[in-house]
Each structure stands twice: as C-alpha cells, then as structure tokens.
C-alpha cells in the first residue's frame, strides 16, 4: 500500500476543490484510504492519518472512526504520536463517550512519565475534558504533581485541579500549594466560590495578596509579563477577583483592601484596553465589598468616564456595571443620565439594550416627561425584539410616575399605536381600568381612540381598547363635546360602521371580535339606531366561532325576552379600584361569566354590584381616603353561585382567550381582617350591653343602629341598621350608603329589602361591620337615597353620637 499522502498535500488539495460536491468527493476518497490504513494497523503512518482526520473533522465531516486510533497513538512511545493522539482526544472525544474511559490508564501512566512535556500533555487533556470518573481516579496523581518543584508542571497541575474540582466538588480537600501565583490564585478562587469554609481559611491571605498586588504595580518593568506598560494584567485581574470574593460581606478584609483598591484605581493608565480591564475589575470589586463611600463614589466616577469613552466596548461594560449599581447608588448614577440616554441612539444592539434597561431604572418623578419622550422615540425606531420589553417598561414607568392622567393616557395611546402588536396581553385590562378611573378624560379618550381606530385596525390591543371604550362612552363621542380637542362630528352610523368593520375584518383576532360585538351591544342603549344593532347581532348568532355565537345568541335573547332589563344590564361601568399600587393585575370588581343561565336569574340594580365585600377591604388596605361606598345589591337571591352577580358589563369571558381577560377576583379572603368575619351574617343576639342609638331621623325616615360585638375579633363592631318609615307612603329603592374615616374599615352586607313600608309596618335591616383597630371614636357619614311619593330623595348625614362602648 503506498504511503498515504502528507497532511500538507491533503490540505492543499482540499482547498482547490471548487464546489462542495468536489470537496466531499475528495474527502470521502481520503477517508476510505485512511480507514483501510487503520485496518492494516500501520504504526508508522498512523499519526499522519489521524492528523488528516482531524482536519476533516474541523471542516465538519464525521470522524468518529478515528477515536480508537487516537487512543493507540496516546499509548505509543513516540512524542509526536502522543501529541497528535492527545489533540485528537481533546477534539474528537468528550466525556459523553465511553471510549474516553480507556484513556484513563494511558493518562495515568503519562502523568508519571519522566518527560515533563508528556506529563504536561496528559494534564492538559485531563484538564480540558476529564470526566468525573477520570478525575476521581486521577486526582491523587494530580495532587502529587501539585507539590513538585517543577513550576511548569505545577501551574498545569493547578489548573487541572481547578477542572477536577469543578467536576467533582467533593475532592476539595486537596491541599493548596503556593505554587505559581496565577494558577494557584485561580485555584483558590474556584475553591472559594464553591465552599464558604474555605473563605474563612483564605481570608488570612488577604494581606499577602494585597502585598503581591502592590508589588506588581510598583515593580519595575518586566518585559515578559507585561502588556503595553502594565505589568501582568492577567494576574492583577485575577487577584482583584479573588479579593472581591474574599471581601464580600467581611469588614476586616474589606478595610485592608481599601487602600490598594484606591491606589489601583488612580494609578492605572486608561488609554489602553488593558488599563481599562483592570479598572473595570477594580470597580466590580469595590461594588461588591463593604467599601467606604468615598471609594464607591470613585468607582462610579470611573464608570462615568468609561461612558464618555469612544470605545464601544468600554461603554458597554460601563452600562452593564451601572445597571448593577443603580439600586444602591441611585443618585450618583442619575448624574450620568444624559449620556445614558444618548446611548439609546447608538447603532449597536447590545449597547441599546443596556441603555434601555438602565434608562428604565433611572426614571423617576422628576425626569419622567423628558425620559418618556426619548423612550417613545426609541420605541418607534428600535428593533422588534426590543419593542415588547420597551413597551412594558414604558407602561410601568408611566404608571408609577405619571404627572397627569391626560399625559398618561396620551403616552399609552402612543405606545399602542406605534408598537401595538408587541405589547403584552395584560396591558389591555390595565389600560381599560385606567380609563374608567379617569372619568373626566372619558370624552377626550374616546375621541382619540376613535380617530386611531379609523386609521388602522391591525393592532389588536389598540382595537380592543378602542372598541371597549366606544361601547362604554359612545354617547360622549356623539355629543362631540370635549374641552381639550376640537370636537369632531361623528354620527351613530359611522361609529357602528367602524365597529362592524372590526368584526368583519380578517385582521381581527377572535378576542377582538368578541370585544367589538359586545361594544355594539352596549351601544344599543346609548344610541338610537337599535334596529341596525339588532340585525348585526342576529347575523352573528350563527357564526362559526363559538364564542361569538354564544354572545350573539345571548344578546339576541336580551332583545327579545328581556328588553326591559337591557338598559340596566348595559349600564356604564363603575370606577374600578386598584388593589395594588403598581400594575394592578386584578380588577377588584368581579365580573361574571356570560353564561346562558345568567339571564333568568337576577334583577340587576341600577347601582354597581360588588357583592364581594372582600374587595372593599382589600381596597382599603391600599390606603384610600374615605372609602367610596358601594352599597350591596338589592334583592339578593343567595341561590346563585357565591352571591355573585353575573354581569354582562364585564365583557370578560373566561371561556375565551384567557390572556386578554382581566382576572376576576375570586373571593379570596384578605388575611387578617376577615378571619372573624365570615360571609354569613353574624347575628349574635348577645348584645353585650351596648345600647342602640338613633342615627338619623328626618322626613319620616328613622334609622336606628344596634350593636353587637363580633365573636372573634374585638376590634370589629357589628352594627345593624333598622330603617323604618313613619309616613303614609312607601319608600322604594331605598339604598343606604356609609363612609368612615381612614383609620376605620367598613363592610356593608346585603340589606333585607329595598322597600321601607309605610306607617312603620316593617323595617329594612342591614348589617354593617366596622373594623376599628386603633380604638378611635367611631364616626360615620351616611347617604340615603329612596323614592318617595314619586320623587327621588337623597340625603347626607353625619353620625357622631356613637356610644363609647361601641368603639372601646
């Protein structure tokens, strides 16, 4: 068999191949030759063949049949063979293959070889790809080598030991040896990262390390170790890193380090990358250890200087570190805000991302307007991958720091129009909640949304919010009144056209269609062209989409059988309260399901419903003033599930896409308040001796309060109101509302009825629970509304004459 071609020639030939196919052909031919040569067990040329195989592997061709050959090479005595063999082992094998175990013995022998280079090769291979078993077997040998006097081997052994420890953490009892500085520092770093006990052991080293570092900086020019005038930067960085780990959380070591850190920080030259590398490491170290404040300021200034540097790499690094420190040293970082904002405009993707994150972290009440302008501009021009993050960031920031409601709504609208398809799904309900809360902005909002919708119906969240608003506030749109913008003249048909367009368009998702359909339905009470709406609704009664069909069928039923209820059902949504200060994810009002069984159950009162009293209290927890009072539903039919009103206003169907529906609040009991208060009325007749009182007596209406103490919670006073009517006419639609000062918490349960019969023939009773944790004087403001003799009466009163035992 002729001698196989030399490596060089092979490489040359392959490079002349013009097409992939030609190359593949050559390689296959050569592979065949190599394979037959291997079969012949040819020792002399084996290493050449394996080298060729490695080259082919690098080009991407399979070369696993060479693995065993590598082993044979390793076992051979010739150095060349060993070298290629180990190289092949490192490239072709890894710990996942079984073949590598066969190497263990070879490596063991080689570790004990007389030639240090052979030992070095073995260590190198072990260090690169040793598996856990190999490491375990060979750890003893490595340890022995760690102690040799040969520095060449010691440094290799140290790193190999690092690898061993990474693989097999239990072997850490290997004694450390002050061998070559660099590798041993690495070893120590690794050990400290893994085990806290080692930390204490090595803390003693701190003064020594400090000394070494000082020597490095002070000492003269050492040509072999230095890089552009700075002596051994690799070692400096390593030592700094080790100092960081040792100093974290420990005061003494940190103090010892302060000086040297300051010295490094001020003395290092920053014109070259090397100097900056060391400074960067220093800054990181300063941040992590318990350094004094002067040092920290120095660190932040260094970072600021980095930011102004022209080199992008340095700016990137500075932005990253600033992000880490912005939590602790907020003010210092603010100073560099304008530079950071400039970085937003940089072309480089990594820098943009970092700058964006940092900008969001820096936004606060003062700079919100300016920052938001920049960020919105950025949102317009940035890549899609950023848009989602940026949009949610903008929302969060706007929510925390919005200077005015109008600004907030403007901002959100801007986000929706520019990046609408990228916003997260939960922002739609958040936005809706925000809009309902700002009642004075309704007209303005709905106008702007209408205009936006005219332009573009492709962005789903925008369409959803717009259709919802148009459904709610369509009448405001018609009347065209709006102080802040020029009124536009919109007719009912135009509005309905737009909504129908949304329904029909292919761009709308099923969820959006649901929104649009319900919006059209709501408009039936607000607009006068009911027939058109009826028509639309009945068309969708046979739609393929189950969700739409269900809604349409129910709305149809509304038109036919329950027309009298329609107005009440489709009334405007009340103000929703937030439960949490930032980014409320639950809407306090429970919104029921649009289930078919709904319609025949309840009479919906004209006032909003939350029968979930828990929400009042939850809301109080966030510190609202003078609890806006929400009276309970009037005739409650406790038969329905949990006393909840099934409310078509909600427009939220959990059978549809879950992401777009705000989570209806389940009646989860807030922790401490309600443990005594369960949902069934606590009528302990043991009045505990608190005398009743008359709270209100006017125009024939008398309201008495009787008191009970709640069983489980002494801070809760249970008040039962009794309303009686001494006139000759009934009082119908009676609603009792109450408000208490901030330090109290109030809960109203369902009244027994809403008609106070005339001539004291009967009374309405209602239970009121007041939590009085601070034992303050109980005060209450009450509001009564009722219809009497054909006219509606409203009255407000203050109740101050509570007996002292009620609140003691």
């Amino acid at each position: 068999m002729p001698a196989p071609i030399r490596l060089r020639e092979l490489i040359r030939t392959i490079r002349t191949a013009r097409t992939q196919a030609e190359e593949r052909e050559m390689i296959q031919k050569e592979c065949a030759a190599i394979r037959s040569s291997f079969r012949e067990e040819d020792n002399t040329y084996r290493c050449r063949n394996v080298a060729k195989l490695l080259y082919m592997h690098m080009l991407g061709y399979p070369a696993h049949f060479g693995q065993l050959e590598c082993l044979k090479l390793i076992a051979s005595q010739k150095f060349t063979d060993k070298r290629i063999g180990y190289l092949g082992a490192m490239l072709l094998l890894d710990e996942r293959q079984d073949v590598h175990l066969l190497m263990t013995n070879c490596i063991k022998n080689d570790l004990n070889h007389s030639t240090q280079y052979v030992q070095g090769l073995a260590l190198c291979t072990l260090g690169c790809m040793g598996s856990a078993e190999m490491c375990r077997d060979l750890a003893g040998e490595v340890e022995k080598l760690l102690k040799t006097s040969n520095s060449y081997l010691r440094k290799k052994a140290a790193l190999c030991a690092v690898h061993v420890i990474r693989k097999v953490p239990e072997l850490m009892e290997i004694e450390k040896n002050h061998g070559v500085l660099h590798t041993s520092v690495v070893l120590i770093t690794e050990m400290c990262e893994r085990s806290p006990d080692m930390l204490t052991h090595f803390r003693k080293l701190v003064p020594q390390l400090v000394r070494i570092l000082k020597n490095l900086i002070m000492s003269g020019y050492s040509p072999e170790h230095d890089v552009s005038g700075i002596s051994d930067p690799f070692l400096q960085v390593r030592i700094l890193r080790l100092l960081r780990i040792l100093g974290k959380g420990d005061d003494d070591s940190s103090e010892a380090m302060n000086d040297i850190l300051a010295q490094v920080a001020t003395n290092t030259e920053t014109s070259k990358n090397v100097g900056n590398a060391i400074l960067y490491e220093t800054v990181l170290t300063i941040m992590d250890i318990k350094s004094e404040s002067g040092l920290r300021v120095l660190a932040i200034n260094i970072l600021g200087r980095f930011l102004l540097n022209n080199d992008k790499n340095i700016r990137y690094v500075a932005l990253t570190s600033l992000l880490k420190t912005v939590q602790t040293d907020h003010n210092a970082v603010q100073r560099h805000r304008s530079t950071i904002v400039d970085c937003l405009k940089d072309l480089d993707v990594s820098i943009k991302r970092r700058a964006m994150e940092l900008s969001f972290a820096l936004v606060n009440g003062n700079n919100i307007r300016g920052m938001m302008k920049e960020l919105l501009y950025f949102l317009d021009s940035c890549d899609p991958e950023f848009k989602a993050d940026c949009a949610s960031g903008v929302f969060l920031a706007a929510e925390k720091f919005a200077p005015s409601k109008r600004w907030h709504i403007d901002t959100i609208m801007r986000v929706l129009t520019t990046a609408g398809s990228y916003v997260r799904d939960d922002c739609v309900p958040n936005l809706i909640q925000l809009i309902t809360n700002s009642s004075e902005m309704h007209a303005y909002t709905v106008q702007r949304l209408y205009k936006a919708l005219l332009d573009d119906i492709s962005q789903q969240p925008l369409v959803q919010v717009s259709s919802w608003c148009m459904g709610e506030y369509g009448d405001l749109l018609l009347s065209g009144q709006c102080e802040e913008e020029e009124p536009i003249q919109v007719s009912e048909d135009e509005v309905l056209d737009v909504l129908e367009g949304v329904l029909i368009s292919n761009l709308s998702s099923p969820v959006t269609r649901g929104y649009a359909l319900t919006a059209i339905m709501k408009l039936s009470t607000r607009f006068s062209s009911v027939n058109r709406i009826k028509r639309v609704v009945s068309i969708y009664g046979s739609s393929i989409d189950v969700e739409l069909q269900q809604r349409a069928v129910e709305y149809n039923a509304l038109f036919k059988k329950y027309d009298h209820m329609r107005a009440a059902l489709l009334e405007r949504m009340p103000v929703m309260e937030k439960t949490a200060a930032n980014g409320p994810t639950e809407i306090v009002q429970t919104n029921g399901e649009a289930e078919p069984s709904v319609l025949d159950v309840k009479h919906v009162p004209s006032a909003p419903q939350p029968s979930v009293q828990a929400n009042d209290l939850l809301d109080l927890l966030s510190g609202n003033d003078m609890v806006p009072v929400i009276p309970t539903t009037v005739p409650t039919k406790p038969a329905s599930a949990g006393g909840e009103l099934l409310d078509l206003l909600g427009d939220l169907s959990l059978t549809g896409v879950p992401a777009s529906a705000p989570v209806p609040v389940s009646i989860s009991q807030p922790p401490f308040l309600l443990d005594g208060i369960s949902s069934q009325p606590l009528f302990n007749d043991a009045a505990a001796g608190i005398p009743p009182m008359t709270a209100y007596n006017k125009n024939g209406l008398k309201i008495d309060f009787t008191f009970e103490r709640s069983n489980s919670n002494p801070n809760v006073a249970v008040i039962t109101i009794h309303a009686s009517n001494s006139t000759e006419a009934d009082m119908t639609d009676f609603v009792f509302q109450a408000a208490v000062p901030k330090t109290f918490q109030l809960q109203l349960l369902s009244p027994s009825s809403n008609v106070v019969p005339a001539l004291n023939k009967g009374t309405i009773t209602q239970v009121v629970k007041v939590l009085n944790p601070q034992k303050q004087q109980l005060r209450m403001r009450i509001k009564l509304t009722y219809n009497h003799r054909g006219s509606s009466v409203q009255d407000l009163a203050e109740v101050n004459n509570f007996p002292t035992q009620s609140w003691q």
Binding site: C47, F79, H225, N273, L347
Partner: protein, 149 residues
C-alpha cells in the same frame, strides 16, 4: 471560558476548542448560529454581545474572527486581552502569522493554545515561557518524525 472558535470571513471554521462537554450535534449547532451572528455584526459595533446565557467576546484580526464564550462573572475586557495575547503568541511562533499559516499548521496552533490556556483559564502569563515550552516540545518531536506529518 467555555469555548473558543476561530473562523474566517466566509464562515469556515479554522480552530475550535471546547472546554465544556457537549455532543457533536450541539457543537455544530452552536458553531453555526454563532458564526452567523458574529458575521452579521457591522465593523464599528461593540465587541461584546449576549447570546443565550453566555457573553460572547469577539475580535477580528485581518480575515479571521477570534470568538470566545465566557461566563457571566468573567471580565470581558480581560478576555479581549487574552485573545490578543494568543494572537501575539501565534505571531511570534510563525513569524508574522497569517490565516494560511493557521490553516496548514492547525495542529501547531492547537499546541500553542494548549500551552497558553488550560481548562478555560490562562495558565501562563509570560509570553516567553509559553514560547519556550513549545520550542522544547517541538524538539522532542524528533526531526525525522516531522516527515510523518
């Protein structure tokens, strides 16, 4: 360091050194994706990028891209220095190194890399020492054996 790749402007791999165990398929996949990402970067862009959960540090020398993947807590700037030091070593050894040298003598490039880095960390910070070690190892490779390669 988790791995180091050298590739040309056309995307051809010249050197690959992996310090973490991965299957062949994964290595190929990572290489492919990374090469694409790095080659797509414009010349003035930052040398660092975030990719999956790793930090990638790359630098271009003439027609070759040197690309390293480091972990979160590693210092990016010093990695750039490591890359530079490696290039210097190659330069000293081959005498004004160019891409062809690395193509035809890839095994020597690997040997030099192995003398400089072990297990992903720098083992010898002195240029002189690294080169001396390589020289001596080469001597061990008796002259006539060079014919076999």
């Amino acid at each position: 360091m988790q791995f180091m790749l050298l590739f040309s402007r056309q995307g051809k791999l010249r050197l690959q050194k992996w310090y973490v165990p991965l299957s062949d398929k994964e290595k190929k996949k990572i290489t492919r994706e990374l090469v694409q990402t790095v080659l797509a970067r414009k010349p003035k862009m930052c040398s660092f990028l975030e990719w999956r959960d790793l930090k990638i540090v790359y630098k271009r020398y003439a027609s070759l891209y040197f690309c390293c993947a480091i972990e979160d807590q590693d210092n990016e700037l010093i990695t750039l220095e490591i890359i530079h030091r490696y290039v210097e070593l190659l330069d000293k050894y081959f005498g004004s190194v160019c891409e062809l040298d690395i193509i035809f003598n890839f095994e020597k490039a690997y040997f030099i890399l192995d003398e400089f880095l072990l297990g992903g960390e720098a083992q010898e910070t002195s240029k002189k020492n690294v080169l001396k070690a390589i020289e001596q190892a080469d001597l061990l490779q008796e002259v006539r054996h060079n014919y076999f390669l």
